[in-house]
Amino acid sequence: MSEITQEQVTHLANLARIALTPEEIVSLTSELGSIMDHVATVTEVATPDVPATSHPIPLQNVFRDDVVGQTLTAEEALAGAPDHDGSRFRVTAILGEEQ
């Protein structure tokens, strides 16, 4: 069994901005542990001669030409916004700062 702790789950939930009840923390700790165990099994199968990969299909260097295409209008951009001032998105007061 992987050593996923309730503290780690609480930390992850906080990072992901997900509110969890104490019961959910308990159950997710166990479920995440199972997932980690499963991944660990895969790791056992992968021998050192199998390189790490981030993609199942070996494609690379897919680039776009530097040519301007179709843009949205501000009206289109804001169409799905919960709130706006006519040209910019309006969001609630932000605590903290830019990254």
């Binding site: 930390h11 906080n14 990072l15 901005r17 981030s54 993609h55 494609l59 690379q60 260097n61 897919v62 680039f63 776009r64 030409d65 530097d66 040519v67 301007v68 295409g69 179709q70 843009t71 949205l72 209008t73 501000a74 951009a77 804001l78 799905g80 001032d85 040209s87 910019r88 998105f89 309006r90 969001v91 609630t92 007061a93 932000i94 903290g96 700062e97 830019e98 990254q99």
Partner: protein
């Protein structure tokens, strides 16, 4: 207000340890991952596509030109180019990016392990080690509204413009920089200035700090000095100063942080690891966000993008096209122009090397070009609080120098002409014509004025005739005044001595 230690005292007790992160906005036509125009400005939220808004179903595609620019920059920084590099998601919640993550590069940057040679104002050469340069996307612009009025409840909100979101960036990260010692503030400025010269030379960024095309975050910590023979003290806790938007601010911010941290440490206090904000108006930094859980970015490979695997042929092609490195160019120009160390240093510090190059190319001698740019033009720019390059063009300066060389203008008149050119009155020749500023080279007019001056000052005339040549100064002054300064003083002097003997007793 924070307590500050005297700078020299701080350096006696502590060794400053530096590190810089410089962000460069690339001047591609389109964004890093979308075909929206790379143009920040204009109406808010118009230079965007669904990719820049992170709309469901939209997919990023890498801008090939941005990759070539990043490789060129990596090579110019003396870096190795990674055979394979990958994009990664940097996860954080902040509305400046709509996706809740920034596409960046984490442990597989496109360029790594380089170095940059910078020259300090005192002539010292310093090699800054570069850890890496990686590609990423810029964030949108937030405007905070309310709050300052004190009415916190319900009145505060922020407005978001995503025009800048997705603009291609290269972030250049230095290794830890030791050994700058008391030159730390000057090194910071010289480093950022050199990076600016490099990207401008490559033509890959506008690199205007005041517009945010080039941004510097300065990391600094202090290490207590230990007596000789004892092991060095561990590195101190660092702060990261943001919002430094000019070369001068970079220098001032480093000096301020050294003095601030030294005062705290010497009082037995501890430095908080945090970001700090530079305030240009007060010349101070203030505490920002402490490093915390929020910095757990959970990087993972960006599943929507494929690895970048530049061919050796492409890398060599870009390497062959690199312009001359600033340090090498500097040495070449100094020799070509036959400047002394001091003269060249003076020019480098003024940041007007390119202007002098262009002025020389337009026909002026290097010495005259340097004299005008670092002298009268720089002084005027300083007095007006503007950039010298906005006042006049190198061509205008070369034309001015040509008028002086041809004897049409004295230096004094040339300064008046320059004033006219700066005021937008036209080319130097047009100002000369319009203001009637040319030197009176008609000896007849000069002789008449000289004779009159000599005759009205018979005592001076007598002295000159007795061989007391220095007495001529009073007559020359009177003649120059009569000519309203529009005469060549050397020629007047010649004529005064000539007329003093020629005049009847």
């Amino acid at each position: 207000m924070a307590k500050l230690m005297d700078y020299d005292r701080a350096l006696e007790l502590f060794e400053p340890v530096l590190g810089f992160e410089v962000h460069i906005e690339l001047s591609t036509k389109t964004k890093m991952f979308s075909d929206a125009p790379n143009y920040f400005g204009g109406e808010p939220n118009t230079n965007i596509t669904p990719v820049d808004l992170g709309l469901p179903g939209s997919l990023p595609v890498v801008n090939g030109q941005a990759v070539r620019y990043a490789i060129s920059l990596g090579l110019a920084l003396g870096c190795s180019i990674a055979p394979t590099s990958r994009f990664a998601r940097k996860n954080y919640f902040y509305p400046d990016l709509a996706k809740n993550y920034q596409i960046s590069q984490s442990d597989e940057p496109i360029a790594f392990a380089g170095s940059v040679e910078v020259e300090l104002p005192n002539g010292r050469l310093f090699t800054v080690p570069i850890e890496r340069a990686h590609m990423e996307e810029d964030a949108g612009k937030l405007t905070h509204v309310g709050g300052a009025t004190g009415r916190i409840q319900g009145a505060e909100y922020s407005l978001v413009d995503y025009n800048r979101a997705g603009v291609p960036l290269v972030e250049i990260v230095t290794d830890i920089i030791y050994g700058a010692e008391a030159d730390a503030p000057e090194l910071a400025k010289a480093y950022v200035s050199t990076i600016r010269d490099i990207v401008v030379g490559l033509g890959i960024s506008e690199a205007r700090m005041e517009r945010g095309n080039l941004r510097c975050d300065a990391n600094i910590s202090l290490r207590r000095r230990t007596p000789e023979g004892e092991p060095p003290a561990p590195l101190g806790t660092r702060t990261e100063t943001k919002n430094v938007n000019s070369l001068r601010s970079v220098e001032r911010a480093i000096r301020y942080e050294i003095q601030r941290q030294a005062a705290i440490l010497d009082d037995g206090g501890t430095i908080t690891q945090e970001t700090r904000h530079w305030h240009e108006d007060t010349g101070q930094t203030s505490a920002g966000r402490p490093k915390s859980d929020a910095d757990d970015y959970r990087y993972f490979p960006e599943p929507d993008l494929l690895p970048v695997v530049p061919s050796p042929e492409l890398i060599e092609e870009l390497r062959a096209a690199l312009p001359e490195a600033p340090a090498i160019r500097r040495r070449r120009l100094k020799t070509e122009w036959n400047f002394t160390d001091l003269e060249f240093q003076d020019l480098t510090n003024s940041g007007l090397v390119n202007e002098v190059i262009d002025t020389v190319a337009a026909g002026a001698s290097p010495a005259s070009a340097r004299k005008w740019w670092t002298g009268e033009i720089a002084r005027t720019a300083n007095a007006q609080g503007v950039d010298a390059t906005t006042l006049v063009t190198p061509l205008q300066v070369a034309q001015l120098v040509a008028l002086v060389d041809a004897g049409t203008l004295t230096d004094r008149l040339a300064r008046q002409v320059l004033e006219g050119v700066i005021a937008g009155e036209g080319t130097p020749q047009q100002v000369v014509d319009a203001r009637g500023l040319a030197v009176v080279s008609d000896d007849g007019a000069l002789i008449a004025a000289i004779d009159e001056a000599l005759q009205s000052q018979p005592d001076v005339l007598a002295k000159i005739r007795d061989g007391k040549v220095q007495a001529a100064g009073a007559v020359i002054g009177a003649v120059m005044k009569a000519m309203k300064g529009q005469a060549d003083a050397a020629r007047v002097r010649e004529l005064v001595l000539e007329r003093a003997t020629a005049l009847p007793e």
